[in-house]
Assembly symmetry: C2
Homo-oligomer: 724 residues x 2
Amino acid sequence: MNGAGNLMDFLDEPFPDVSTYEDFHTIDWLREKSRDTDRHRKITSKSKESLWELIKSLLDAWSGWVVMLLIGLLSGTLAGVIDLAVDWMTDLKEGVCLSAFWYSHEQCCWTSNETTFDDRDKCPQWQKWAELMTGHAEGAGAYVLNYFLYILWALLFSFLAVSLVRVFAPYACGSGIPEIKTILSGFIIRGYLGKWTLLIKTVTLVLAVSSGLSLGKEGPLVHVACCCGNLFCSLFSKYSKNEGKRREVLSAAAAAGVSVAFGAPIGGVLFSLEEVSYYFPLKTLWRSFFAALVAAFTLRSINPFGNSRLVLFYVEYHTPWYMAELVPFILLGGLRRPLGDSLHPGQHRLVPAEEDHTAGKYPVLEVIAVTGITALLAYPNPYTRRSTSELISELFNDCGALESSQLCDYVNNPNMSRPVDDIPDRPAGPGVYNALWQLTLALIFKIVITIFTFGMKIPSGLFIPSMAVGAIAGRIGSGIAVEQMAYHHHDWIIFKNWSAACLGESHRRLEYIVPLMAAAVTSKWVADAFGKEGIYESHILLNGYPYLDVRDEFTHRTLATDVMRPRRNDPPLAVLTQDSTTVEDVETLIKDTDYNGFPVVVSRESERLIGFVQRRDLTLAIKNARQKQDGVVSSSVVYFTEDAPQLPASNPQPLKLRRILNLSPFTVTDHTPMETVVDIFRKLGLRQCLVTRSGRLLGIITKKDVLRHMAQMMNQDPESIMFN
Amino acid sequence: MNGAGNLMDFLDEPFPDVSTYEDFHTIDWLREKSRDTDRHRKITSKSKESLWELIKSLLDAWSGWVVMLLIGLLSGTLAGVIDLAVDWMTDLKEGVCLSAFWYSHEQCCWTSNETTFDDRDKCPQWQKWAELMTGHAEGAGAYVLNYFLYILWALLFSFLAVSLVRVFAPYACGSGIPEIKTILSGFIIRGYLGKWTLLIKTVTLVLAVSSGLSLGKEGPLVHVACCCGNLFCSLFSKYSKNEGKRREVLSAAAAAGVSVAFGAPIGGVLFSLEEVSYYFPLKTLWRSFFAALVAAFTLRSINPFGNSRLVLFYVEYHTPWYMAELVPFILLGGLRRPLGDSLHPGQHRLVPAEEDHTAGKYPVLEVIAVTGITALLAYPNPYTRRSTSELISELFNDCGALESSQLCDYVNNPNMSRPVDDIPDRPAGPGVYNALWQLTLALIFKIVITIFTFGMKIPSGLFIPSMAVGAIAGRIGSGIAVEQMAYHHHDWIIFKNWSAACLGESHRRLEYIVPLMAAAVTSKWVADAFGKEGIYESHILLNGYPYLDVRDEFTHRTLATDVMRPRRNDPPLAVLTQDSTTVEDVETLIKDTDYNGFPVVVSRESERLIGFVQRRDLTLAIKNARQKQDGVVSSSVVYFTEDAPQLPASNPQPLKLRRILNLSPFTVTDHTPMETVVDIFRKLGLRQCLVTRSGRLLGIITKKDVLRHMAQMMNQDPESIMFN
């Protein structure tokens, strides 16, 4: 912290390094960028002075890559540990491995010599609780005991999870994605990415997933990775002292998180691209790439046999697709939105409700109740008892020759030996119809229970449950229905005409892009028809975060003058003059208002704008001057001009504050269309913008004003935007 | 075009629809956006008036998707036709199909019944020229005759190509990518995407590729697709009358072009993302996606059997990779830049040279000479005789059991029957060493000839030749060398330690991402060390286009005041006053200067800025007023104020021009760091920006000024930026 004496010695530095941001405030991207450029220049010029400084500058240049490496290693490790722990604890609800209690069911039988190929899931070392306690593996008694213990374990896990979150880290609940998007776009939420959040979220995520609740670990994993990023930022002042640079690291950490959550390093980079493209230099993309790569690699090294973990669901495409199959693909794409929306209301209803109603008052009770009901209903149905990711894996299977699943119980016709890539030509057996019933029940159960699960005070992602709902619907709808239609009507032209065009192996990748893209585009059209915002955007809106979405197009015909403050009947704008305000005036202004900063004008008469001064800088500078600079009293005049006039000795000493004055505040004219203003705020990451007409200051527009105006124009409650 | 009378009736419309842009000028993105919003609002409000207007508004809303569909269909069709034509004409240099002369070699033998599986390339219907003309298929005479005719055909094709380009469409030469990037970023080059360019580029591309020159068709295909996009823009006034909206379509067309050129619909979308993210709404991305999809699908339908066309090089990964293989991958990544640079100097030397030296004076002769030398040297070597894409395909093959290629002549050890996915364990046979020699010669030949080929006045892409150089180097280096090293030293730990970690099928996709990413990241580091700009950026720089690259980081400590004009000793800025300039003054100003527009100030004394007026609007408005408005003479005073004062009847009639005044010109203060100014120009797509200090106008910064300043700071010639 510089004293006021120092302040005056460095009048040429445009931005002093004296201020940070308050909690729940928006950062100023341009300012952060400018500060980093200054820092960088200082290091570069120093590096020519000595070898030590040169080494320091090289270390500084490489620190970005070092941080990426550390993030990749830690988030990959955590993801791997979480995977292993979830496996073990999920199986713990059913039984225990006698040879080593820390083995999961799969590992237990994997290491056993007595496992046969036909029934890999059964081995004597793995014992269900009933068998272990009573010696009876079969029978109604054993079933009830297992059922009871299954529920008990689930309740224990979820109780631990919700208690830990409540006591140690309230920010650890939910998926965290909306907050991370808001933080990346330039908002401060202190502690959201802290060490406690990291620790508690990791532990409670394992507990919550293992308890069998209808939630996914993907969103929380991204949050965990971002916490890792924030942790490593504190190692380098380059990142910890600059909120803009910190967000470069966080965006790469988010990419690493997506990479380990979905097994998609490139997808991870794309996730963080949105913010990257506006605020960060392109090299950030390369670093994200690197972090995502290291994370994926680390995860693979830790958990090499858990193939369903890394590549989330590996789908083998054995057969080409047929034109007819596009129809259900497009239907599914169209259904995605309504299905998703059936999960939304839960959010809309529960999240605000839980702040003032029963569920919100007793979050622990809520979690216990939902866990109990989930376990009670899930156990009897084989498709809901297992973990959701196992369910999805089975649904994605196409029925090969060795498949023992109920879903593959087709009546095989021994007279026909068609090649693999031909139209399936088998009638369904009784097992398939049985499975259809169970799947339908599972679909209803999943939709209902997910609505109640989402929004509870535990770490929970929505991706896996949504995907499960989609996969069940897909398997019921297209997988079985279309196949049987094709069997019974295989002379229909729609099933035939593309057979000839099937190009064999070499086109597979492109082949599958077409139906996926068709589904994605349809889904997009339907989503547009239903309304624009996604689930994360609704959550952001509900919490009143100041998030300017890239997707919001502003097409109304309002002007800056309609949005700026002061409004028509408001008191005039709080401004400072360049050479006629006293220290006392400034102190009164600071006391009476809570604005983040004040415009400085030539005089109250001319109102010509010369700059903008931050509240925080002003407070600090006056405090320092009062303490350290002789002769600065309440009646001292504050000068923002380049030179203070020579005053007679009898007058109080003037206070020169040009150094803390931002001489390039952002301005627009009062006639500027709001469309342009929104664009400027979004692309340049502004906090506020001054409004002038022919050089005279008229008012100010803050990010909050912009967001409130946008909400108003979309007929939403403008008061929902709570932060600046 | 509105008369001046109308002009005054619509004082409330901020931007009149009266002006377009001059050739070789930069567009103003904010203005185009604003104009489109106005148009959109007009249509929306009209749509409530009648059913017909409602239908029109719906048609307008869907026109974007219609254009995308048309672009996808046409560019896919053209790509398919070009593929088929190139196949046929490439084979025509060697021989002809007797059963149907329009069949290529492959098609000819494909349809023949006498083809055996072992030698699919040989069938009696396909005859080489010597066999057809003399009856002798073998022998030195036949070889020489075939050699001679091969060269003759090549010369004929390339002569036709260069002549057509010269006579009908000079813009059809080169790859077109640098110009398309510049156009997409907001520059006008009339005729560059015209109908003639489309036609001639399509025809000459076929000729140039068929002639066997070392060039690729990928870049030109993107240009062709963009021409299609421009063609369909003219169907809808929404796109043809708004240069911003036109670029939305062009960016999607570029995506479709990349999609058909590389068989990568998603890659296509990523290509156009750079511009999309700044200037276009996100929905453009979806449309690009759609266009790319339709194009890929159309291409597949036209040319279903040409599997090497759609997915450019389909590589089947049979075996997992080993840690040791990362080394050559990383080396190759590191080599990419020096190899690429060895192709660059050719560009640096040839392109400016050809404008004043021999080669440039006689472009036809140059093409003929290079074609002759290429054909002469390429024919004897089997790896250069065939088309470059066939060569790359062969290089990517791993040696399966059935492979008859020389590259796969390994000494098989009958005692060992290892599984496919094990470390190759075979010593190389004599064929491999022979192939190594030929490949080395081919590598040198390709590098040298590509340097001379690039920059000639024919359509030519650089991707395929660069890829060929990389693939040859890769095959020589890692494919063969590492393999043999592994054979001779297979106890080395580096070849062993990862075998255990090989995860089988399910990880393949991720498996291959790791080495590719490692190579890409290394390549990036080396590129950074060599200097920042890529081949397209150098080309843009050479041509003096005003292209503000996203990647250029500006970190110098200059201020707006250092860049703005007028400079210290320049004459003062040409400005208009709001109520004291006469029509004659304005006309003199327009005649004496060539600026794109003029700032309007309150008075010359106060210099307070009130707006900016476009030169073109001013010229048109005065011309119209002189013709149609009574009493407007040279001594009439021009008023930019809201109300003109009531003048005595004896005074000449005033001319009110507030309607053409842009009341929200972009301003920065003179203290604004250039870093911020560059950011603003880049992200908002500005043409110019006014510089003020406490409300007084000081100067102006244009895009050209910014680019020249950036060039100066990077020690480049600032005069190289030629356009505004």
